[in-house]
Structures are given as structure tokens and as C-alpha cells.
């Protein structure tokens, strides 16, 4: 075991491993979607909420969060729990926006009362959260958002619409960005906890290219938001949003968000297996040096991303605290996309077979997975925007506004 791991950490890792082995939930009647981004049915929702709650009680979630906020009060254990959850290949946590974005945002910027109220049900999965950042007119240029919040006594009255809102159909709360000052693009934004169950909120599903849903358009019409649901000061929404996005891109200390169940390694390994079973040109694809080269390059880059993750935690070797973490979402999503493209070319004509076709490879998972890789390359700041950020923040190049 790792030399720099303490005896307690080793023990906790062993505990996580054993617990996950014993408590692996039985499969669902209808297969789960590939990631939490695409959960649609009530059956899947309740199954996944139960699973998350069980993991929370077993201390795999909110492991390092202090007890007063519903956490388990450990120190340096969360990363172990998350690694073991990923390794165990168990279902993902449905409340990934709550765990990955809302909780870190509240821990940094929330009031004491907000933390005590909203955090525990995030951890248990009882309250699902969504993220209301993007709007029809504000995508990459997020600060162009127009949804307005106008003060009315102790309340704010919110009007506007949000788009691409993942999990909006299950959510109780929204991370809501609204404009409180039209004259100042960046300092005119305020951050709220948006109540999805209040009057005036309409959620309309949007269908993805895969045929699945999972994200929505959300219309906000005279929605009343009490002032105590404002996060941080009026006009500081942009700053708080940046800290949320840092968490979304995996660059902040998490509280246990794991949104997909397959590790990149499992994917490249099944791809190599696939190449060892499919034939082209009279021989196994794996026996063709051109294919081998392609596959080994993918294997090399997958291993590199694992090792990057490891190196990011070694201060002397990481070249600056944010340099490697800020690359994670960009390289992970692009690598996943390439891997799926290669899978489809290995399948050849079989790649045309989709979910529900008995002759398809693993029920169309590669075609479905390929399409869903665009979730990673577009959402949470597109790959182009990530390259801007890396160039500017890590290498100090001039800003592209």
C-alpha cells in the first residue's frame, strides 16, 4: 500500500473496499443510463437515491465534511472513498450537481444557516439539485445572462429562462444566477438558491441526440425567492459562480461526487478486448499493427491521465497547484471521445446497431457512449473555453474576452 498513506487511511480504504463489495446493489429492471446526466425515469431516480443514501450512511459521501453540516468529520478520507467508489464499478450518485457543485459552493460561500439547512439532504440524495447557469443567449459567455431578480421587500422576484438544465425535472433546488444590475455585466450578477417547487417555475424536457432526455428548459415567471436564499452578497454572483465551476471541472476538493460509473481504464481495456474478438481484412483487428498503434496510443494517454491525477498531489512535481487539475475535464472528455470513435471504427458496420437491437454489441453502448461524450466536451465550459482558461491562468497568455 502507498507509503505516504497513514495506518488510519489504509484501514479506511480496506473498509470502503469491503463495504462496496458487500453492498453492491442488484441491477435495475431497465438498465441505468450511462451517467447521471441522463437519468429520466422515476424507477431509476428512487433506486439511485436509495443507493446514494446508503453510501452516505456508510461514510463514502461527505466523508471529510464536518459533523455540524451532516458530514462524517474525517480528514483526508474523501479521496480514498471516491477512488474506491470509482474502482468498485457501482452505480453513480444521482445528486452529482448537489455533491459536486452545490455542496462545495455552500461550504465556501454559504451562511451558517444555509449550510445546516441544505447540506444534509444533498448528501443523502433527498434533495436533488440542478444548475441554472446557461440561458438561450448566454452559453460560453455566461456573464451575458439576462434572467432578472428584482428586490421586493424581503424577497426577490425572478423572471427569465434557463436552458440545458440537467436534472431539472427531479430537482428541488437550483444554483441560480440572476441579473440584479443591468448596467454592470460582471458585477451585476447575484447567486441564489432557486426553489424549483415554487409557483412560476415550469420545467420542459429537451431531447438529446441520443434520444434520451435528462436536461430541460426552465421558465421562471415571477418566482418569489426569499432573501435568505441569496448566496453571498448582492453583485458577487460571478465570483461565486467561478468557484462553482472550478468544482464542476473537478479542480476543487469534492465531497464525493461520482457522476459516471465506468473508469477510463475499464473502457480502454474493454476496447482492447473488443479488438481481440472482431475481425477485419481476414484477421483479428488486434493483429493489425495499425490498429495496435492506435489502441496503445489511447492506452498510453489513459495511463497518463491517471498518473497526472497522482502527480497533481505531489507538490514538488505538479508545476503549480492548478496546472494539472485544470486539464482534467478537457483531457478526460476529449480522450473519452476519441476512445469511443475508435470503438465505432472497430465495430465497423456493427456500429450502426443501437440500443434495443439484439445483434448490437453490449446493447449499443459504444454508439450511445460516443454521442454522450459531447456532454463532457461541451458542458461546464467547452473544450475551447478550457483551452482559453489554461492558456490564460496557467501560462499567463493574454485574455480572450
Amino acid at each position: 500500500m502507498a507509503a505516504s498513506e497513514t495506518a488510519e487511511q489504509r484501514e479506511f480504504r480496506a473498509y470502503c473496499r469491503a463495504w462496496l463489495e458487500e453492498n453492491r446493489p442488484p441491477p435495475t429492471a431497465m438498465p441505468l443510463p450511462q451517467a447521471a446526466y441522463e437519468v429520466m425515469t422515476e424507477d431509476h431516480r428512487s433506486y439511485l437515491v436509495d443507493w446514494q443514501n446508503k453510501c452516505y450512511e456508510a461514510q463514502l459521501i461527505a466523508t471529510d465534511v464536518s459533523k455540524e453540516y451532516g458530514g462524517h468529520g474525517h480528514n483526508g478520507f474523501q479521496q480514498i472513498a471516491s477512488t474506491e467508489v470509482r474502482r468498485a464499478n457501482v452505480p453513480y450518485f444521482i445528486n452529482w450537481i448537489g455533491l459536486g457543485m452545490a455542496a462545495p459552493t455552500l461550504l465556501i460561500h454559504g451562511t451558517e444557516a444555509q449550510r445546516k439547512t441544505y447540506l444534509p439532504p444533498i448528501f443523502s440524495g433527498e434533495d436533488i439539485w440542478c444548475q441554472g447557469f446557461s440561458e438561450p443567449g448566454a452559453g460560453s459567455d455566461l456573464a451575458g445572462l439576462q434572467t432578472s431578480a428584482v428586490k421586493d421587500g424581503d424577497n426577490w422576484i425572478v423572471n427569465g429562462s434557463k436552458v440545458w438544465t440537467s436534472l431539472g425535472h427531479f430537482a428541488r433546488w437550483m444554483l441560480l444566477l440572476a441579473r440584479t444590475d443591468k448596467s454592470d455585466k460582471y458585477n451585476g450578477i447575484t447567486y441564489f438558491i432557486g426553489p424549483m417547487e415554487h409557483e412560476g417555475v415550469t420545467v420542459q424536457p429537451i431531447h438529446k441526440m441520443t434520444g434520451e432526455s435528462g436536461f430541460n428548459e426552465v421558465f421562471l415567471e415571477d418566482v418569489v425567492v426569499p432573501d435568505h436564499m441569496r448566496i453571498d452578497a448582492v453583485g458577487t454572483g460571478w465570483k461565486v459562480a467561478m468557484s462553482t465551476l472550478t468544482s464542476e471541472r473537478g479542480a476543487a476538493q469534492g465531497v464525493g461526487a461520482v457522476a459516471t460509473s465506468e473508469s477510463p481504464f475499464a473502457a480502454i481495456e474493454s476496447l482492447i478486448q473488443l479488438a481481440k474478438t472482431k475481425k477485419r481484412n481476414g484477421r483479428l483487428i488486434w493483429d493489425d499493427p495499425v490498429w495496435r498503434d492506435k489502441l496503445m496510443k489511447l492506452y498510453e494517454r489513459t495511463e497518463a491521465s491517471t498518473q497526472n491525477f497522482r502527480r497533481a498531489r505531489v507538490d514538488a512535481l505538479n508545476g503549480g497547484a492548478m496546472r494539472i487539475p485544470l486539464q482534467g475535464k478537457l483531457t478526460g472528455s476529449e480522450l473519452g471521445q476519441e476512445l469511443h470513435q475508435v470503438a465505432l471504427s472497430i465495430l465497423g458496420q456493427e456500429a450502426s446497431l443501437y440500443i434495443g437491437d439484439d445483434n448490437s454489441e453490449e446493447n449499443g453502448r459504444w454508439a450511445l457512449g460516443y454521442m454522450n461524450t459531447y456532454t463532457g466536451t461541451i458542458s461546464g465550459g467547452s473544450s475551447e473555453i478550457q483551452r482559453n482558461i489554461l492558456g490564460e491562468r496557467v501560462l499567463g497568455l493574454p485574455k480572450t474576452k
Binding site: M1, A2, A3, S4, E5, I272, W286, P289, R292, D293, L295, M296, K297, Y299, E300, R301, E303, A304, S305, Q307, N308, R310, R311, R313, V314, A316, L317, G319, R323, I324, Q327, L330, T331, E384, R387, N388, L390, G391, E392, V394, L395, G396, L397, P398, K399, T400
Partner: protein
């Protein structure tokens, strides 16, 4: 996993790397290199084909203990592991330093694998400051472990070794030679009777290369199991060379980013434009992948020998492609100045291209790695 999470890169390695970096900066090998090449009308066509080597720096490196670093304690060395040697190799690459140290480190790991009394005697000399290179290759299919065209009879060597690195800088050479059907390993000083050298004209200005011809030269046999020893040492050799490239590519990245901030066109620093900015970010991404794989390979070799070959092949595969990409973008994004003899980019460009071919490029590494699946 039985590996330390920090790759075994502890305080000792941090201090060593810092002092290596400062040493390289002090000795300013780049300036020296430029001074040595400046003013020559046609530098490649002159008669001099030296690697622009500073022998005083070598003496200091020996005094700093860098040749003894990886030599086992029983042979009078410090007995440090590969990750420690990698810390130094990376700095040599970052400085593009012409030095026999990298090849001496490679030879050290081959002799460590040989493990014989004779091998230990040569290791002892390395610890004391003897520099050594490798003469393992023949001309045809030179990456095969038995490609050597040298033959041995009672430790007397005859024939020619190809692509010997840094022969103008080293004192001795470790030679692969065939005795009957078997490849065996020998050590011999370059000044010994019956050894002659011819210098290649090479592209890289920071190295030199040549052929060594033996004519009944009396050598010391250090191993009867040449192929096994070379194969066993290959992961460490690949990792050290990849570390050199990782350092050099970090330099190319930083230099290009710095230039993109100061060179102004269309009223803006060129780094403002995404056609410049994004490729520089891609340089960083590939350079980081290589660095991580290099540390991982070194750590695997130090702790989990059964995974060594795969880890090292992945590191060299990555290093080769990173070299190609970073060198290419660095030159392109500097524009005209990047294409000149004047500019340092060309020095690094050529060094990483040279390293790319040493013991096989990315395509070769991946074909070898695939055999492990």
C-alpha cells in the same frame, strides 16, 4: 499497488533536482553552445564535429556525486534508485546540456543488471568519475538486441558498432559483441589499443555520435547474458531518455509561451489569438502527460519490476510524440526567428528529435507494448 504515491520523489530528490537546475543555469551551457556555433558560416560543414562539451563541468558533476548516484553501495556508489537519476536527467534535458552523464547513467543501469564482479569493478570506476557510453547496435535492424556486428573471441573485440552516442566525450564504452551465437557484454576504454572511431555528421548540436571499430581490442567481459541484461536494463534506459525529453519539452513550452506574450502583431501579443494560444496549451498537455508517465515508469521500475517494460514503453511512446509536437509548434509559433540558427529553439528542436530515435520512436514503443497484452 505497492508504489509510493509520490513516485518516491521525496525531499532528497527535490533537493537534488534544485541543485541540478541551479548547476545547469550557472554553467549556462546554452550560451556556451551558442558562442561555440556563432559566426561559423556553415557550421555543419566545418571539420569540427564536437558536441561542444565542457570538460570542467564534467569534473564538477563528478564532485557533486552525480556519477556515483546510481552506482550500488557495494561498488562504491550511493545506491540511489531510478527516480533519483530521473531527477537529474530531466534537468539535463531542460538545459539541453551536452554531457556524457546521460549515457553514463544508462551504462550504469546496464552494469547494475549485469551484476558480475567485473561489472562492479567498472561501476566503481564510474562512481569515481569515469564516463561511459553504450555500443550495442549494428547498422541493420539496429533496435534488435542482437543487431551487433562486433564479434568477440576470448574478450578480444573485432568489428564495428554503429550509432555510438557521445563518443567524443566519454572515457569508456560498454560493447555488445557476439561470441559464437551469444551476445555478451564487454567494457573497454576508448584509448585502448585496437579501438578507432569515426565521427558521424549529425543534426543534433548537443550530442555527438559515431562508429567504433575494434581490431582485436582486448576488453573486459562483464556479462555472458547480453540479451537478457540489455532487455532487463531497457526500461530504465527508456525512462532516462524520456526524462531528458520531458525536461526539454518543458523548456520549449515555457519559451513559446513567453514569446507569445511579447511578440506583438495586429496590435496584440500573438498569444491573444487562439490559433496560437490553443496549440501552446496542447504543448502543455502533452508535456504533462509525458512527465507523469516518466515518474510513473521510474517508480514502477524501482518498486514493481514486473510492470517495468509496459510503464517504460508508455513513457517513451509519450515522450517521442510530445517531442515531435512540441518541437513542431515551438518552431512554427516563433515564425521566422524560430527557423534561424540564432535562436535557441532550434537547439532543443534537434535534441528532442535525436532522442526520439534513441532506442526507438513512439510507433516502435507501442508495437513492443502491444506484445504485452
Amino acid at each position: 499497488m505497492t508504489q509510493p504515491r509520490d513516485f518516491g520523489f521525496g525531499e532528497e530528490q527535490v533537493m537534488l533536482q534544485d541543485s541540478a537546475r541551479r548547476f545547469m543555469e550557472d554553467k549556462a551551457p546554452l550560451n556556451a553552445l551558442r558562442a561555440a556555433t556563432k559566426g561559423t558560416e556553415d557550421p555543419y560543414l566545418g571539420d569540427e564535429r564536437t558536441g561542444h562539451y565542457n570538460p570542467d563541468a564534467w569534473k564538477e558533476m563528478v564532485e557533486l556525486g552525480w556519477t556515483a548516484l546510481a552506482v550500488p553501495e557495494e561498488a562504491g556508489g550511493v545506491g540511489m534508485n531510478l527516480i533519483t537519476a530521473v531527477a537529474v536527467a530531466e534537468e539535463i534535458g531542460r538545459a539541453a546540456m551536452p554531457t556524457p552523464l546521460t549515457m553514463t547513467l544508462l551504462a550504469t543501469f546496464v552494469l547494475r543488471e549485469a551484476g558480475t564482479t567485473e561489472a562492479n569493478q567498472w561501476l566503481e570506476r564510474i562512481a569515481g568519475g569515469l564516463s561511459m557510453t553504450l555500443a550495442l547496435h549494428g547498422k541493420e535492424d539496429f533496435l534488435e538486441t542482437d543487431s551487433t556486428q562486433v564479434t568477440a573471441s576470448d574478450s578480444d573485440l573485432s568489428g564495428t558498432s554503429w550509432y555510438v552516442q557521445d563518443i567524443q566525450k566519454v572515457d569508456a564504452v560498454l560493447v555488445a559483441a557476439k561470441d559464437g551465437g551469444d551476445v555478451k557484454l564487454y567494457c573497454i576504454e576508448l584509448g585502448a589499443d585496437g579501438v578507432s572511431m569515426e565521427h558521424d555528421r549529425i543534426v543534433d548540436l548537443t550530442r555527438d555520435q559515431g562508429r567504433l571499430t575494434f581490431d582485436g581490442a582486448a576488453a573486459t567481459k562483464v556479462s555472458d547474458a547480453g540479451v537478457d541484461v540489455i532487455n532487463a536494463a531497457m526500461p530504465a534506459m527508456l525512462t532516462l531518455l524520456s526524462a531528458d525529453t520531458a525536461g526539454a519539452c518543458e523548456w520549449l513550452l515555457q519559451e513559446t509561451a513567453a514569446y507569445a506574450k511579447v511578440r506583438t502583431q495586429f496590435d496584440r501579443p500573438i498569444g491573444f489569438f487562439q490559433a496560437v494560444k490553443h496549440p501552446i496549451v496542447n504543448m502543455m498537455i502533452t508535456a504533462d502527460e509525458t512527465r507523469s508517465l516518466v515518474y510513473a515508469a521510474a517508480c514502477t521500475i524501482d518498486n514493481e519490476p514486473e510492470g517495468s517494460e509496459l510503464a517504460a514503453r508508455l513513457a517513451k511512446s509519450s515522450a517521442c510524440d510530445t517531442a515531435e509536437f512540441c518541437a513542431n509548434r515551438a518552431t512554427q509559433l516563433h515564425g521566422g526567428i524560430g527557423f534561424t540558427w540564432e535562436h535557441d529553439v532550434q537547439i532543443y528542436h534537434k535534441r528532442v528529435m535525436h532522442t526520439q530515435q534513441l532506442f526507438g520512436d513512439g510507433v516502435f514503443q507501442r508495437s513492443k507494448a502491444a506484445e504485452l497484452f
